[in-house]
Amino acid sequence: MDKLDLLIKNAVSRRTFLSGAGTAAAVTLIAGCGGGSTPAPTTTPTPTTTPTPPAITDADILNFALNLEYLEAEFYLRAATGTGLSSTDAGGSSAGSVTGGTQVSFPTAALQQYAVEIAQDELDHVRFLRKALGSAAVPRPTIDLTNSFNGLASAAGIGSTFNPFADSNSFLVGAFVFEDVGVTAYHGAATLLTNKTYLTAAAGILAVEAYHAAEIRSLIYGLSVSSGVSTYLTDANKVSAVRAALGGGNETQITGMNIVACAPTTAIAYDRTTDEVLHIVYATGAGVVTKGGFFPKGLNGTITATAS
């Protein structure tokens, strides 16, 4: 194990230790400081309060993000190459299966190069998070890239089916489904992370997801202008409406004056809670939801179910 991973591992275990065993640690500390002069306790204190649920650790949050990165990596890798994550990158034999996803035929070199770039970025994010988490990394959950998009299209009023791998324009709409959500998820996680190294890394991924989001949004808009056909722009905005309905608003429809998705009064990007993100990727609204949409068996890790 290299020095960095050791450092990261220690940070994870320290955080887990602090959140999970704080009282025990405090007791030990007092006893240690008191030394031999501290009388031994003669009675065992009985807990009178209900134990609080285990706190969400940094590792839980990074694993939540890792699930989303698996999804994005599978989408882009399959679009660019026809093949998804290697077994090693997906977490070995415990990795869930992936349904759907075929190589997209791009009409221009530039469009192909955009797709390849984002595919490599998302693959790098998977690898980075897996390495940072070490043995705590969750494997790829079961992912559905066929029925998920069909269901989304139906909910959005695009049609009864939608294949984002059918052509370049459909691919852009498919990519649009993910990128703004990634931004809001990482933004929401920023203030939850306690380790500064993780915070900086997460902020770096947040920025990259925002680069991607702007790229996809501007390509969709530019395409509608240059081709004179607004079908795909309209479809993307229908997707945006569905995300808003599922994920607590936090959406800006694409127009020539709204490439950036941000709060209209402050121009600050939106953030979403893990619940709001789960409602979107599970494609299911209010209530307790544990699976569906892109993740037919749910996410792997600790953060898998919505509270409401």
Binding site: L77, A80, T81, G82, T83, S86, D89, A109, A110, Q112, Q113, Y114, V116, E117, I118, A119, Q120, D121, E122, L123, D124, H125, R127, F128, H187, A190, T191, K196, L199, T200, A201, A203, G204, L206, A207, V208, E209, A210, Y211, H212, A213, A214, E215, R217, S218, Y221, G222, G256, M257, N258, I259, V260, A261, C262, T266, A267, I268, A269, Y270, D271
Partner: protein
């Protein structure tokens, strides 16, 4: 992998270094506490004011490019929270860009509005602590920078393309500045806001870089990607990383292995990020070197009289 590993360590070390640079005086104060040495710590307001200076710069650039007016002329405050007057803006007469593309004109107007809102938001968050706008130079700064990229007398207000290249100069820097600041902020609400502004700067950067890349693909002979890459090179030289691991990626293509299921493929470099696909972060010292156009951090460039506030 050794290289990626090294970069990861470097990025962590550099973020540590950023904390040490910013908190240097405070740390020294702790070390010599017994001697009652005077302390001056960098607080959240100092960092937000540092950001406010950069937002003044961006807002002026986009507002002048789209309206020909300065931000105070369109109702955005430039005085300090306690009322001290704002500085001057040096810019050519009639700076409104004669946009040919209505699409690019729209992007410019959107960005102008968003940078104005960042100024107003930070001024509101800082309240009485907000610094006034410092003197800003949008004339000599760009001309000097133009010489470094082989375009003497560069005028970002002359055309659609020049305007986009001018934007390119700012946006990635905004991303790295907010990224570097994230771990320094202690108030969760400020951290949340800063992360949200960083994301918007990254949207802007992604937009500008996508449009420039598309223009280059349409007209390769114009050398657009090459100019953008030279700008990235100048930034990395100014901030001291060019000779080791440059913290700035220009526009062009790279060969990537993807998942290894096929031969290497050609990828664009729309995203400005490191080997782990994490956006770069810069220390305040590195950001100052770029906006001052001075590797040693001497005021100049876009801020001829330096920034206002504690970090300058």
């Amino acid at each position: 992998m050794a290289n990626a590993e090294t970069q990861k360590v470097d990025s962590i070390l550099s973020s540590r270094r950023a904390m040490l640079v910013l908190g240097g005086t405070a740390l020294a104060g702790l070390a010599f506490a017994g001697k009652a040495q005077a302390q001056s710590t960098i607080n959240d307001s100092d960092i937000l004011n540092f950001a406010l200076n950069l937002e003044y710069l961006e807002a002026q650039y986009y507002t002048l490019a789209t309206t020909g007016k300065t931000i105070d002329q369109v109702g955005i405050g430039i005085t300090s929270g306690s009322g001290a007057a704002g500085g001057t803006v040096t810019v050519k007469s009639n700076p409104m860009v004669p946009f040919v593309s209505t699409v690019i004109a729209g992007y410019a107007a959107e960005t102008a509005g968003e940078e104005q809102k960042h100024v107003s938001f930070l001024r509101s968050a800082l309240g009485m602590s907000a610094v006034a706008m410092p003197n800003i130079d949008l004339l000599n700064s760009f001309a000097a920078l133009g010489t470094l990229i082989g375009v003497p007398g560069f005028d970002p207000f002359a055309s659609d393309l020049n305007f986009l290249l001018g934007s390119y100069i700012f946006e990635d820097v905004g991303v790295t500045a907010y990224h570097g600041a994230a771990a320094l902020l202690t108030t969760p609400a400020y951290l949340d806001a800063a992360a949200g502004i960083m994301a918007v700067e990254a949207y802007h950067a992604g937009l500008v870089r996508t449009v420039l890349y598309g223009m280059d693909a349409a007209t390769p002979s114009a050398g657009i990607n090459g100019l953008a890459t030279k700008i990235s090179g100048v930034r990395a030289t100014l901030d001291g990383t060019a000779a080791s691991t440059p913290d700035d990626v220009g526009l062009g293509t790279v060969s990537v292995a993807l998942n290894g299921s096929s031969a290497n493929q050609t990828a664009a470099t729309v995203v400005n990020a490191d080997a782990n696909a994490l956006a770069f972060a810069r220390t305040t010292t590195q950001v100052l070197a770029i906006v001052y156009a001075s590797a040693s951090g001497t005021p100049g460039g876009f801020f001829p009289a330096g920034l206002n506030g504690t970090i300058k």
